[in-house]
Symmetry: C2
């Protein structure tokens, strides 16, 4: 006879930890750093705070498979009464709203806690000073796996200055540091690229890296939004209907209140097109009506585009700053495209093309991919960005391989169309592919102008060398013929050459101006 | 201010459906068929029943994106009081035991129900006749997403004959049939290969395929097992300790009772080696002790290997039957390796090598992968089997490409080491890689014998042609010299030739005997 039973979410993920990326001690360590850093960024920049982030990895001297990860930030902190659930209950969080964030699962940090407690048995340590609170709290906690509730081992509260805020998290887990340190370092570097306004200190057994912020300018934080009518399914509609306080609401009012970019007129036009009476009370809707409503909402082609106030791109200027900070190229040009959308989800594509300087020569463009300001390090081969970059004939833009060329792509969306379950590659949704190609070509055109100008400069330099080679001879001969003094003639010729070169060098002033 | 809240497991998977493979209407349809078929196989063969499975895909005539999937089996049925939870509550199931099964998540069919209700709003229909019960039940149900409980719309019970049993499930979801029908067909074909004892009828809008069983022999079902000491973590130890009825149990008794292949003596030797008193009461264990215990259990190298009674390989004979059923080759040889283990998890590798017949010529060996009798259709490029097959120099085995060569690999384990989260590729764990290579080489050697013999046969045939070409002339001349009659001489020569050919053809008797 079969025995049936239910699992708690914590039990489920304890048994299936690879689903959340904790498949082995190397990947688990990478994932832990990543979850903590991304939480710290979300706790700072989203709330208008310039991030100061400290990341430390240290090894137990008696067993170097036991790795302690500490991440500290100056974020808004976690409300003290929420700490146990936020760190100790799977599927609990603050990110279940429609706007661009890094984490969306309410799963990441809990998985790190679970992994730590199943491999080393150690509780997570959390110290948090919530913004505006007069008290800060310190916690040691585990997850009660069977019941999916936090198990607080110790907690302590202290008075603090009102304006101090931030969170420190420390975890000890079994990790394969040697196998994964290169990848974690690359993750930190790329995070520093996409957050030029953040100061990041990264300390490891091998040494320390410090990325000072290169700007104090923060991108505008995303606002919360409503669903676009094309982005919902029957279940979401049902939940919206349940959450309406009164059943006397009409269908028209329901649409206007719950959806993005739907005014009275749009709602009425749509409902008539879909065969519904706009004045129908929502309490009179049957389940079949919901099915028709959802399907009509998807196929109606006169909705306004979703607005992009829920998104927070970096902007071309910050993206260029970030690229300069990490790649130190000779030239960079960034492009932020206007908002677009797919299946009711708004998205924005940004791209930077960087050339020369410290970028290594390579046979194909080096690609750095980001989604909602998160670096994507795995599965590049199947990402839409790779496809677009490989589809471009770079000789059109005067690039000859091997070349020191890097392409940075950043897709922001309330719903990134990830390919499969790894969340490391973006699918080739036609709308996104189109925007990426437009952005890359736009930036590449600026690179072309730069490369043509560089070619001209070289040409001028070559001419200068030729001039100077014959200058003495010409001056002497001319002086002999014209009887003008050699000094006078030399001065005039020097002026001529200087003017020629000056014209070029003043064009180049400002170093990165080609990108503006 | 951030708003915090918890999600139910159903809400979580509703929002993150791609985690369970339901990322788009094509993949969701594939996944739905797969989940239902695998449940049906688990409900039959695991309980000693020869499976009769009926799969039907039909399209709504008014909207062909609305796809209805029906799967019926003659399995043991679902206990009537469990039906609502089994189909309507995420993380509920009967498969949370240590033994080889297909599904392990308690998630698959619920995801199909969720996907159906969010895309078409239609409930799942279940009719089940549990084995030994006098009643059968019929249900229409949805999942209450917010609370993760089943919402039964209608149910009905009927008397039935005691010996009738089985389950019918029907779902209507949004699916992209045209995009995915080839892949579903391939899935069904490969399922038929790995279950030669199953009869499968597959009906689609395009027609019907019928796979009659080719044998009535079932592989021995897997038994439930205990954890191997190397396969546990601290959380599992804690749960085991909690489940002991008495706290007066000693550490030694605890190990003997809870673990695979651990007798009194092994337990005592291990505990002394690890620095524990075997007579210590488990109630006196501290959390630090657990950590040491778990880590010592992993590193102790004198445990006996895990037993393989939890596994259920097909066996070489059934695997050959399956290959003949689907690939219809000229030659097939299958090999089942003895049990092995990695990190405390037992596994068995089986391999078949098939050649000629209806197999197409290809430049590299065609590969068909299976794990716990499930076909793996995606991500072949990163699977350990592909790596091993590509690493073999096939000319050693007399195979010249392009060749009509297929390699079938089957890994059985209580924990398949899947690569990443897609569960479509097996990682290159050294132990598994080694076993795969040994098995493939073993089968390939049998193929080599076959190919050498075929070469020899061709050689003989060639000689026969030569003999016959000169036979008349030789007989005539010899008769003239020896005065023996031409008839007599011809008879003797014919006998000689026949004996030569007879030797070869009697070797070949039985067609597939080269594989035995």
């Amino acid at each position: 006879m079969e025995r049936f039973r239910g699992l708690s979410p914590a039990e489920f993920f304890h048994r299936n930890k690879e689903i959340a990326g904790f498949s082995n001690p190397a990947r688990a360590l990478y994932q832990t750093v990543r979850e903590l850093v991304e939480n710290s960024l979300d706790a700072t920049e989203t709330h208008g705070i310039l991030p100061n982030i400290y990341v430390e990895v240290s090894l137990d001297p008696s067993d170097e498979n036991k790795v302690t990860v500490t991440v500290a930030d100056n974020g808004i902190g976690v409300p003290l009464h929420e700490v146990p659930n936020v760190f100790g209950r799977v599927f609990y969080g603050s990110k279940y709203v429609i706007r661009q964030t890094r984490g969306v699962f309410g799963l990441g940090v809990k998985m790190a806690v679970l992994y730590a407690q199943m491999t080393t048995g150690k509780p997570i340590y959390v110290r948090t000073a919530p913004m505006g609170s007069k008290v800060e709290g310190e916690y040691y906690l585990l997850i009660d796996v069977g019941r999916n509730v936090p198990h607080v081992l110790k907690m302590r509260f202290r008075k603090k200055e009102r304006n101090r805020h931030g969170t420190v998290v420390r975890l000890t887990l079994e990790g394969a540091w040697a196998l994964v340190k290169k990848r974690i370092e690359e993750y930190i570097r790329r995070t520093a690229l996409i957050t030029p306004y953040a100061s990041i200190r990264y300390k490891t057994p091998e040494g320390e890296m410090i990325f000072k912020r290169v700007t104090r300018e923060l991108p505008k934080p995303p606002e919360r939004g409503l669903y676009h009518p094309r982005g919902v399914d029957i279940e979401i509609l049902k939940e919206m209907l349940r959450s309406m306080n009164s059943n006397n609401v009409t269908l028209k009012e329901f649409l206007v209140k719950n959806f993005e970019s739907v005014g009275e007129r749009t709602a009425e036009e749509f409902l008539r097109w879909a065969g519904f009476d706009p004045e129908l009370r929502i309490k009179d809707l049957r389940i079949q009506d919901l099915e028709i409503l959802a399907s009509k909402m998807k196929s109606y082609d006169k909705w306004r585009r979703p607005r992009s106030h829920t998104l927070s791109p970096l902007g071309a200027h910050l993206l260029e700053e970030g690229v300069k900070r990490i790649l130190a190229p000779e030239f960079v040009a960034a492009v932020t495209r206007p908002p677009s959308s797919y299946s009711g989800h708004p998205f924005i594509v940004e791209v930077a093309v960087a050339y020369g300087g410290e970028i290594q020569l390579q046979d194909t463009p080096m690609l750095l991919r980001f989604a909602n300001r998160m670096p994507l390090l795995y599965d590049e081969g199947v990402d839409v960005s790779r496809k677009v970059v490989d589809g471009i004939d770079w000789s059109v833009y005067k690039v000859k391989f091997p070349a020191p060329l890097a392409v940075v792509t950043h897709v922001c969306s309330t719903k990134i169309p990830f390919k499969g379950v790894g969340k490391e590659a973006i699918a080739d949704v036609p709308e996104v592919e189109r925007e990426l190609e437009a952005a890359i070509r736009d930036a590449a055109r600026k690179l072309r102008i730069h490369l043509v100008r560089m070619e001209k400069m070289l040409e001028v330099k070559r001419r200068e060398v030729v001039y100077r080679k014959y200058l003495d001879e010409v001056v002497r001969s001319l002086s002999y013929i014209t009887l003008i003094s050699e000094e006078e003639l030399r001065r005039k010729f020097e002026e001529l050459i200087a003017r020629e070169l000056g014209r070029v060098s003043s064009d180049e002033e400002g170093g990165y101006s080609g990108a503006a």
